[in-house]
């Protein structure tokens, strides 16, 4: 057991454990997950990240119940009120109000919904597309691989934000367009990692064995190869959520993403920009919220990487 622990997870999940039983019921899988957890638990920053992410998800889900005010409620008599601890502030608006008199805290709470939802949805779609593309590309090779790889190379030639900004400019702002503009290039990351993994796994004995037993290509891909590349996909996906949240905020900041009055943190930073000299809090708090969220997800993702798949370290 001692020796097994030091092995990376991938080695643990090798097929001689899967031959007789479904991996979900067999000995292999639960043991490996327990090992992953044991490894993860030792990593204090990652634990902190995980807790913060959980809290943020809780806040986003419970927004209507915990927000003190309606985030869209305009109040001309309460414009530009400072945070509670500053002279002129009140605990009714703990973080103050913006140029329309909307409660900043409530908008921050609702803003978490936009950031987390966009991050999760974009990465979910992109990873699914990427994993399928990577599997096909790596497993079949030949002209399919060539075509997919050319597309990947072309998309990689565009700096991320440049392509997203141009797409948003052409399609016009809005939530659905934002998702499209981000998924457009995002899937490439997962596709490349999965393809490399498939190439590494493809010639293993258990894949050969499955083929010898007459399993179809699809079956081999999804039953035998996919479970073995999933760990990398999960790690990559987690880290990419942080990146996508940053991109969403950047686009919204430029006015090309989520449109007001939907409270997006990026839009909120932009709202406060013109008032930065006097009412610094309007831009500062949403920026901090982005920083904390992205930081927490990065810590969680890197903890997962170290626990699940140490080879992905740069």
């Amino acid at each position: 057991m001692k020796e097994l622990e030091s092995l990376p997870i991938r080695e643990m999940a090798t097929p001689w454990l899967e031959v007789e039983a479904d991996p979900r019921q067999g000995e292999g899988a639960p043991t490996s997950w327990r090992l992953v957890w044991r490894e993860f638990r030792k990593n204090r920053p990652a634990l902190v990240g995980a807790v913060v992410v959980l809290i943020l998800i809780g806040v986003a889900l419970a927004a209507p119940w915990i927000a003190p005010h309606d985030p869209a409620q305009i109040n001309p008599f309460r414009r530009l009120q400072p945070p509670a601890w500053m002279p002129g502030g009140s605990w009714e608006y703990p973080l103050g109000t913006d140029h329309l008199g909307r409660d900043l805290l409530s908008r921050l709470i609702y803003g978490s919904r936009v950031s987390l939802a966009v991050g999760a949805v974009v990465v979910l779609i992109a990873t699914t597309v990427g994993v399928v593309m990577g599997l096909i590309s790596g497993y079949f090779g030949g002209w399919i691989d060539t075509v997919i790889q050319r597309v990947v190379e072309i998309l990689l030639a565009f700096p991320y934000l440049v392509l997203a900004i141009a797409l948003m400019g052409v399609m016009g702002p809005g939530l659905v367009n934002l998702l499209v503009a981000l998924v457009y290039k995002e899937w490439v990351t997962a596709a490349r990692v999965v393809r490399a993994e498939v190439l590494a796994v493809k010639s293993r004995e258990y894949v050969e064995a499955a083929r010898a037993l007459g399993a179809s290509g699809t079956r081999i891909m999804f039953r035998h190869i996919l479970p073995n590349v999933l760990a990398s996909a999960v790690v990559i996906a987690t880290l990419r959520v942080a990146w996508v949240i940053l991109m969403e905020a950047s686009l919204s900041f430029l006015g090309l993403g989520v449109q007001p009055p939907t409270p997006s943190w990026g839009v909120m930073v932009a709202d406060g920009r013109s008032a930065i000299f006097q009412q610094w809090w309007i831009s500062t708090f949403p920026g901090l919220a982005i920083l904390v969220t992205v930081l927490a997800i990065n810590l969680l993702g890197e903890g997962l990487r170290d626990a699940l798949d140490p080879r992905l370290r740069e």
Partner: protein
């Protein structure tokens, strides 16, 4: 050379994507051009459409676009009354180059020593501080960092200017378009200092994420190198610690660093748009953002193409640097 040939299909693909991008645009470009010009007859619009080749089938338009690119003709702006896009971009390019190079210099100057130090003093205080800093650096939204820096250094402390490239009227005579270089050529130290003071905040904002990435990679590749036998051998020879770390360690650790840095250069190019917008920096990034607001698609199209081309070139340079640093590899 072979590597250069391999990029040809990619560049072609890039042109195709850029071309289709603009033809996804809803609305008629001719109407966009004529907007706000009073009454325009149908004949005039048809005439303009013919002049611009917009009546041709798509594939011919694409060929025209390619032929134009080959001649260095990037099309004509809608917004600036038909001004050649190439001219508009050329005017803005020096500002962007100056900013990007400054950001790269700052990030490398901070990241390399910090990365080496973190590796040499692994798990000690310096390493811990470094890794926290790097983690913050990659998680900071650059548009917000820029605002906070302005708030701190320009508004509260009043040390640095808030926006722009140089104080109005101090522009050095244009030679290269890079104010730092031009002011030195003109021997105008006041202009040099002024341009430098304007450059600091945008360059730091742009360079932060890059510095964080570079530092982490330098650290991990340095850790990899330090374990090698030739380092033990260099120590055993009685070389000074400095020589061991820098001459034998760093040089080899740079190999992966250079690759990863150039792969992430795209982040720098994208960041340009944000940073230039915040600091009122009259570069290419701001031209793109402004052009999107006024729906000046030929400018957007050409600028996106230039960005992609730059990125491809940077990767080529990285490959070349890689073989230069690591003569064992041939491409």
């Amino acid at each position: 050379m072979r590597r250069l040939l391999q990029t040809v299909p990619v560049v072609l693909g890039v042109t195709l994507l850029v071309f289709t991008l603009i033809h996804l645009t809803p609305g008629d470009p001719v109407e966009a051009m004529m907007a706000g010009q009073g009454s325009v007859t149908q004949e005039q619009m048809d005439q303009l459409r013919r002049e611009l080749g917009l009546d041709l089938p798509l594939w011919r338009q694409y060929l025209r676009f390619l032929a134009g690119l080959a001649r260095g003709d990037l099309g004509h702006s809608f917004y600036y009354r038909g001004a050649p896009v190439g001219r508009l971009i050329a005017d803005r390019l020096p500002a962007t180059i100056e900013l990007t190079v400054a950001a790269m210099v700052i990030s490398v100057v901070i990241a390399l020593p910090a990365g080496v130090l973190a590796a040499v003093r692994r798990n000690r205080l310096a390493d811990r501080v470094g890794s926290v800093g790097a983690m913050l650096g990659v998680s900071l939204p650059d548009f917000w960092l820029g605002l906070v820096l302005i708030l701190l250094f320009s508004v509260s402390l009043g040390w640095l200017p808030i926006a722009g490239r140089i104080t109005y009227g101090m522009e050095p005579p244009p030679v290269t378009g890079l104010y730092l270089v031009d002011s030195l050529l003109a021997g105008d130290w006041a202009a040099f200092g002024d341009a430098l003071r304007h450059l600091v905040l945008p360059a730091v904002t742009l360079g932060t994420a890059m510095a964080a990435l570079t530092m982490r990679i330098t650290r991990s590749s340095m850790l990899e190198v330090i374990r090698q036998e030739y380092i033990t051998y260099a120590r055993a020879k009685g070389l000074s610690e400095w020589a061991v770390v820098v001459r034998h360690g760093l040089r080899n650790a740079l190999i992966p660093t250079v690759t990863v840095v150039s792969l992430n250069a795209g982040t720098l190019l994208g960041g340009n748009m944000i940073v230039e917008t915040i600091f009122g920096w009259p570069g290419l990034g701001r031209l793109v953002v402004d052009s999107i607001y006024v729906r000046d698609y030929p400018v957007v199209q050409a600028a996106v193409f230039i960005y992609a081309l730059t990125y491809i070139l940077m990767n080529l340079v990285a490959d070349w640097l890689y073989t230069w640093l690591n003569p064992r590899v041939t491409l």
